[in-house]
């Protein structure tokens, strides 16, 4: 269980995190979404005390972060922190000394999965290979807690898939996974919950299926392009939107009833649109002021 509570971080007068709270129970994968600069990386860094939060903290399985937590916590930072002059093998060697939970056989498998050559120096690695080595180090301790800051960045499609498989495998074994990415479609498959950050605040959070089910769009087109003023006051319609000859109703329940009512009101055509995670994300970050 990862429980982030009220994380706040200011740099001078700029507030980059403003009371960020989120929970990731065991066996759950939470996608952390947000535009560049929304505060995703700072959330990871403050949770792990790599940056000092002005308020709030993160608890892991109910406990504050302590040295022992790192025995079961895998972290992949957005910029891999490797030693350029050491080889891949030497990185593994360091990890094997630092962590009692380090599993050498598992590390070998992971090296093969990511096609890494143990003899390569870190400075010779490509961006994707650096991420891959970070992933090998994170997964080699069979972590129950995973904090992954864009873990598929720079990876080719096959290795992105391999990484998703590792994440899903870990969650199947009960791990809590917090996973930031810009690949919304990938997150939608792999994650069961999501948190969207905007300007350092959580603007949307929860179970993905529940969020998707909570709102549908009923779109109606009227023949004369004129909306009747007597469009019925419909139950459960959160807002109306006019777009050309179409009228869109954002509804929280029973879209079929709304569709039927619009048809009775004289709409020529009516359709119910389901919303995917990308739609919800775009809505949540809409109107963001450019930095």
């Amino acid at each position: 269980m990862i429980a982030i509570e009220g994380l706040t971080k200011r740099y001078g007068t700029r507030t980059v995190l403003d009371g960020v709270s989120l929970n990731v129970p065991g066996g759950s994968i939470c996608g952390l979404l947000g535009r560049n600069g929304a505060g995703k990386t700072t959330t990871f860094r403050c949770s792990l005390r790599l940056a000092h939060p002005d308020a709030g903290d993160a608890r892991f399985d109910g406990e504050p972060l302590r040295t022992a937590t790192f025995e079961r916590l895998g972290y992949v930072p957005d910029r891999p922190s490797l030693y350029p002059w050491l080889t891949v093998e030497q990185h593994l060697c360091l990890a094997s000394r630092a962590y009692r939970s380090y599993d050498g056989a598992r590390a070998r498998e992971l090296l093969a999965t990511y096609c890494l050559d143990p003899a390569d120096k870190a400075r010779a690695l490509s961006r994707g290979q650096e991420t891959a080595l970070s992933l090998v180090l994170a997964f080699a301790i069979r972590p129950a807690l995973l904090l992954l800051d864009e873990p598929t960045g720079g990876l080719d499609p096959l290795l992105q898939r391999a990484t998703l498989e590792l994440i899903i495998d870990a969650a199947s074994n009960g791990a809590s996974v917090l996973f930031s990415s810009h690949a919304v479609g990938q997150l939608e498959r792999a994650a069961d919950r999501v948190a969207v950050l905007r300007d350092g605040r959580v603007v949307l959070a929860g179970d993905i299926e529940a969020l998707r089910a909570a709102e549908k769009i009923v779109e109606a087109t009227f023949d004369d392009g004129v909306f009747r003023s007597d469009v019925p006051a419909l139950q459960g319609v959160r807002r109306w939107e006019h777009a050309g000859a179409a009228l869109r109703a954002y509804t929280e329940r029973d879209p079929d009833a709304v569709a039927a009512a619009l048809a009775r009101a004289g709409a020529r055509s009516v359709r119910v649109l389901d919303r995917n995670l990308e739609d919800l994300f775009m809505d949540a970050i809409a109107g963001e002021s450019p930095r």
């Binding site: 998703l164 495998d169 969650a171 498959r189 299926e209 998707r212 389901d274 995917n276």
Partner: protein, 133 residues
């Protein structure tokens, strides 16, 4: 499992419904035979890169509907008893959903009722030619 599943996260249809329908369809057409063992939740989640909780929910739903059975420690299997009947019911359900979608779409496009009926009859005549007298 030799069955292929195509899950499209961009589609508005919830992922668990997509997987539920495709598993039902596989049972209905016999691609998953009665008594056949299903992959574990974990194996299917990894194979399809889907959230394990989503796959677990699909299995629970199929179990509740009696389409699969789970024997503790042995895994999940396509239900064996009375499967011919079950298969018909499942096939009918899957077909009904497809028809409902088609009718809804035709309605959205403003196709009149009689014209739609004609379209459906023409498709039936095309795919069930032996029924024509």
């Amino acid at each position: 499992m030799p069955v292929l599943f195509a899950i499209d996260p961009r589609s508005g249809v919830p992922i668990y419904l997509q997987l539920t329908d495709q598993l039902k369809r596989a049972v209905a057409v016999g691609a998953l035979a009665p008594g056949e063992r299903l992959p574990t939740v974990k194996a299917l989640a990894v194979q399809l890169t889907l959230n394990p909780n989503t796959v677990a929910k699909v299995y629970r739903d199929l179990e509740r509907e009696g389409i699969i059975e789970t024997a503790p420690g042995r895994g999940s299997f396509v239900t064996g008893n009375g499967t011919v009947d079950k298969t018909r019911v499942v096939a009918s359900e899957v077909a009904q959903r497809a028809v409902r979608e088609a009718v809804r779409e035709a309605r959205a496009l403003g196709v009149p009722r009689e014209e739609l009926r004609g379209l459906v009859d023409a498709e039936i005549a095309r795919w069930f030619p032996e029924d024509e007298t």
